[in-house]
């Protein structure tokens, strides 16, 4: 009995010491893999499997939860380790300015022309050298006409007194403050402090209508009837509208007449990516019209490839593609100067206090 205990202990000790070294020296790249660094569930399973089967390149799909974590990782490895990153627009701006991304080789991207021109020459990559857009968040309003007496066609209608305590919004200050800026005819990205301040005053009159400020699963509140109208993230809009179509709930989705804010996600190749060829191959693979359509249907964000639009399921098409003629009314929500950002935060705090709700 006693002897056995001794052996067990020694064995455990040896194991604890030996395995980290084994792992440290093991796990080496075999040269033909693609380390894809992005959020989870960004691609349908069949696309990932299809790419592996067609090219023989193994996908190593690793995740980050926040853009800032991704930036930290790239800074730490100095642009190595990862082959392809898909992240939000504002962080790519920082990534490129820090020299952590490499220029794309367009010859390896024959499908590059499929990109919708609306999403070309973005602020973070004005010469289209580094990035391929992949899905965009587009700001809309969803409401339940059965529970609302007015016809909602823009942000201004959310201020209507008949909607008292019936509106839910996300806790994203640039998007919500931006609604007031848009009503006042300003840009989402204005750095004029007095314009931001008057937007803050305007926003205060929305406070009595706010029932909820929260980020996750806002679509549930609309579906359960807790609220009648909502300004949500695009993935939530898609979830709400798909359910509405399935269950005949009759929800309406509105492109606000004052102007539409949007924010694309995009893929880029880190400066010292171990396998840039695989990254190009994958980008080109998803840029294919039919495959792109599959991706956006799965992703629930707006299609950034014009060539994919015709292949998107007709039921989902109004949710995932832009209607014609909206182009000039759209504005990318960009990072702004420190001072303007502080002013935004100030009016946002005042608004939240007035709404008497906390965002969780």
């Amino acid at each position: 009995m006693k002897k056995k205990g001794l052996n067990l202990f020694r064995r455990v000790l040896l194991l604890a010491l030996a395995i980290p070294f084994a792992l440290l020296t093991g796990c080496k790249d075999d040269g033909n893999s693609l380390t894809l660094f992005t959020w989870d569930e960004m691609f349908p399973q069949e696309i990932l499997e299809g790419f592996e089967k067609e090219t023989g390149i193994r996908i190593n799909y690793v995740n980050f939860d926040a853009d800032e974590v991704m930036l930290t990782k790239l800074e730490n490895s100095n642009g190595a380790d990862y082959d392809l990153v898909i992240a939000d627009d504002y962080i790519i701006d920082t990534v490129i300015s820090k020299g952590l991304a490499q220029k794309l080789n367009k010859q390896k991207l024959p499908n590059y022309g499929n990109i919708n021109p609306v999403y070309l020459k973005p602020f973070y990559d004005p010469t289209d050298e580094y990035t391929v857009p992949y899905g965009a968040g587009v700001q809309t309003i969803v409401y339940d006409p059965a529970k609302v007496n007015i016809k909602i066609s823009g942000y201004g209608d959310l201020f209507d007194p008949s909607l008292a305590n019936r509106v839910a919004i996300i806790a994203n200050y640039r998007v919500i403050n931006g609604m007031a800026l848009k009503i006042l005819g300003q840009s989402y990205n204005t750095e004029d402090l007095s314009a931001i301040r008057s937007a803050g005053n305007k926003l205060l009159s929305l406070a009595p209508n706010i029932r909820l400020i929260k980020d996750d699963h806002l679509e549930d509140e609309l579906i359960s009837g807790e609220v009648s109208a909502a300004v949500m993230y695009t993935s939530e809009v898609t979830a709400a509208m798909t359910t509405s179509i399935e269950k005949n709930l009759g929800f309406e989705m509105v492109f606000p007449k004052e102007g539409i804010g949007f924010g694309p996600m995009a893929g880029f190749i880190p400066s010292k990516a171990p396998n840039p060829d695989a990254a190009h191959a994958f980008l080109n693979y998803i840029l294919d019209p039919e495959r792109g359509a599959l991706c956006f249907e799965h992703l629930g964000y707006y299609s950034t490839y014009a060539a994919s639009d015709p292949y998107i399921d007709p039921e989902l098409k109004p949710l995932l593609t832009l209607p014609a003629g909206f182009i000039e009314n759209m504005e990318n929500i960009k990072p702004i100067g420190e001072e303007a950002d502080q002013e935004h935060l100030r009016i946002w705090t005042a608004f939240k206090a007035a709404a008497g709700k906390s965002d969780n």
Partner: protein, 279 residues
């Protein structure tokens, strides 16, 4: 009143978990609608290769860091609390060492993650399983230390003294007497550490590398695209696994004989008697 209070607390604690389990069988993507029973989320889950790679990484990480923590934590507790230890000798440095050893439990995880990353990049250590194991061991050690310490404090010193009287050296007395007596505490410390390591997302997200996605990071990164019921299915499986681990831990750490005042000692004698007979 007391019953009501207990019911209220238990409801608050377990109803959310129960909902996740129920919704993992919900046919609708949207959690506010019940649309019939389905196992399709479990099917989707098992199709997802990256999910199982992440699960495997998390398991390896949990096992390695809890075992490393077991060795370090046990050594620490034994070193401080046996007869010649600094705390038994009421040396002031003993308490200081104990405080430093337990501190990682109290440091906010985000800070632990940040400083670990800064430290590893200073050392030039490539991020991956090794850095994950080191960082996780750091916050797992206190759990093992505290559990083992509790056991050592209640242990009768005369057992080891008797062994030494009979000619056993320090090592022999430790492996033959002390270790078997504290083993249940070590094991329950390991299980606790494993659960802590398996859950962790904050420290991991700082120190993970390009080949070591862990399960909590993967789940957490679904916030972008909206959490699917596939995650509910996974949470259900994880919850079941956690319950099994906790029950096992509680079973191993249950109070047993307390020493010489217990009536069990004749049993011990009988054992010794049997061994003699065999010899």
């Amino acid at each position: 009143m007391k019953k009501f209070y207990i019911a209220l607390i238990l409801t608050l604690m377990y109803v959310p978990i129960l909902l996740v389990i129920i919704y993992s069988f919900n046919n609708s993507r949207i959690s506010s609608l019940w649309d019939g029973f389905t196992l399709r989320w479990y099917r989707d889950l098992f199709r997802d290769r990256s999910m199982f790679i992440a699960l495997g990484n998390s398991l390896i990480l949990g096992i390695l860091s809890s075992l490393s923590a077991a060795v370090i934590g046990t050594l620490g507790a034994v070193g401080l609390y046996t007869k010649s230890g600094l705390i038994r000798k009421r040396h002031p440095v003993g308490k200081l060492i104990e405080f430093l050893a337990v501190l990682p439990i109290m440091i906010p995880e985000i800070i632990l993650g940040m400083v670990s990353l800064a430290f590893f990049s200073l050392l030039g250590l490539p991020l991956g399983m090794s850095t994950l194991v080191i960082a996780h061991t750091v916050f797992c050690v206190p759990y093992v230390y505290l559990v083992v310490k509790g056991r050592l404090v209640g242990m009768d010193k005369s057992f080891t003294e008797a062994a030494k009287d009979l000619g056993a050296g320090e090592w022999r007395a430790f492996f033959d007497i002390t270790l078997p007596l504290i083993l249940p505490a070590v094991v329950s410390g390991v299980l606790l550490s494993f659960a802590m390591s398996f859950d962790d997302v904050i420290v991991s997200s700082f120190v993970t590398g390009p080949n070591t996605n862990t399960l909590p990071i993967k789940i957490y990164s679904q916030i972008k695209t909206g959490v699917t019921p596939k995650t509910n299915a996974l949470c259900t499986l994880l919850f079941a696994a956690t319950i099994v681990l906790c029950l096992l831990s509680a079973y191993l750490a249950r109070p047993r004989r307390k020493g010489k005042t217990e009536k069990k000692s004749p049993g011990n004698q009988k054992e010794i008697f049997h061994e003699k007979k065999r010899a």
